[in-house]
């Protein structure tokens, strides 16, 4: 599998939305790509284009040789809000997408149990969504996303609405799952630290929706934020961005 963006542009008649300008990027199977940039630089627009929720004004997005024409289960999106359905319990939420895709029942349960267990939620199958904490909800959303076994998982700042402790724990768990599954992931964040912690490569976006730089993060996993090399990467990346917002990085 590979995902390729070729000269992708996106403009809006409504100027409030961030534009994308001539993006070229290739994502290989099993890669964890993080995308950082200031708010309004077009990170989310880029993700929505890959998801097929938006159509490029020009250029092409090619997934496994096929151009992307619309949303589909081979590109599952995980949002900043959990987007779980309050009328279903935990297990029904996790199997929802697989049910749409007519995955056999036993297979559904096996996959759901596997990922819920990884997230430490094996005893919460029949809980209602509103009974869970914010972090647990996002864990269920993670489990739902992974069970879909999509070609690429698109994550739009999935931990940024959580408190810092919870978000740190979740990114640690995500790294753990990724090390076991090597799921291809395109992950948007405004946190430089999070990008270096998770990404094999970090795509730095600049204002105006262009790619400023792509940095390979050559650190062993599991990574630790207090490693000297980690801190070096972090400083290097912050210098690159020299943005006001990213310096206030958590």
């Amino acid at each position: 599998m590979s995902l390729e963006l070729i000269g992708v542009n996106k403009t809006f008649s409504d100027t409030k939305q961030a534009t994308i300008n001539d993006i070229n990027l290739k994502i290989e199977k099993g890669e964890f790509i993080c995308c950082v940039g200031k708010s309004g630089c077009g990170k989310s627009t880029l993700l929505n284009l890959i998801a097929g929720l938006l159509k490029p004004t020009s250029g092409q997005i090619i997934l496994d040789g096929q151009p992307v024409t619309g949303p589909g289960p081979d590109r599952i999106v995980m949002f900043q809000e959990h987007a779980l359905f309050p009328w279903l319990n935990v297990i029904d939420n996790v199997t929802f997408g697989m049910e749409l895709a007519s995955v056999p029942k036993e297979e559904q349960m096996a996959r759901a149990e596997k990922y819920l267990k990884m997230m430490g939620l094996e005893s919460y199958h029949h809980y209602a969504i509103h009974q869970l904490s914010g972090g647990m909800k996002q864990r269920v959303a993670l489990a739902r996303a992974f069970t879909m076994d999509s070609k690429v998982l698109l994550m739009d700042e999935p931990f940024s609405a959580l408190d810092k402790q919870t978000s740190n724990r979740l990114r640690k768990e995500l790294q753990q799952i990724w090390m076991e599954t090597h799921q291809t992931i395109f992950f948007i964040t405004h946190s430089v630290e999070e990008a270096i912690y998770l990404g094999d490569r970090v795509v730095v976006m600049a204002e105006g929706g262009t790619i400023q730089n792509v940095i390979s993060v050559d650190l062993d996993r599991p990574r630790h934020v207090y490693d000297e090399k980690f801190i070096d990467y972090r400083r290097h990346l912050l210098d690159q961005i020299q943005g006001e917002e990213t310096h206030a990085d958590r």
Partner: protein
Amino acid sequence: MQTDRTTDNKKGRLRGSALEEVLFLFGVILLWQLVYFVGVDQLGIWKSYSMPSPSGVFQSFYKMIMDGSLAEATGRSLLRGGIGYLISLVIGGIVGILINHFPFLHRNLRPLIMGIQTLPSICWVPFSILWFGLSQTAIIFVVIMGSAFSIAIAVDGAISNVPPIYIKAGLTMGASKRQMYRRIIFPAALPELISGMKQGWSFAWRALMSGEVMTTSIGLGQTLITGRNLADINQVMLVMIVIVIVGILIDQLIFANIEHKIQKTRGLA
């Protein structure tokens, strides 16, 4: 009503305890009897045929229970109202989904429906009688015209208010159009749909009475008019009370229960 459970419901805190409510109601009835005693029996301000009394209403109640006429009238009204309401649900549901689905209809037909909806249902009575005569069908027609449009507007609103993130999640999980409606939009809109249905019922019940007083089929509306024709003000009052009680019972026993259940599973109650 005295036994209803909405007092445990946090949203129902506008109400006091059941005992308090019973005592208050009892007080009102006592006051009413007193006013009647002073105003009619003692001072003769009102004539007894123009002023009902609790005891008179109770006598009417006893008489009409014993001869079965109250049960028959209530049953027939409920059946007629129920049929009209069910047809309204079907028509309102379909129209609501259509005006929501097609932007052209949403722009053009929806304002028209909203306009028609402001028309009091009694305005449909002349039409109805010309088309269907003094028949059951005429009354049911008035019920449908009185409630279907409000249901259509409510269905459209409920679907429009489904959070876009659910739709997006469904799209990326590969939901087909049909799956989207059945598995996502409908369940997400359910709480609002139920409120729309509840409001539709109260419109239907009012429209039913407009229809029934204008025609001659047996029912609560007709019993009310018979009371007037016989100058039996107690019977008129009795029917009014029954209409209120039936309306409240259906609201509380059916709709409030469903609403409460849905809100509870979603953690909204």
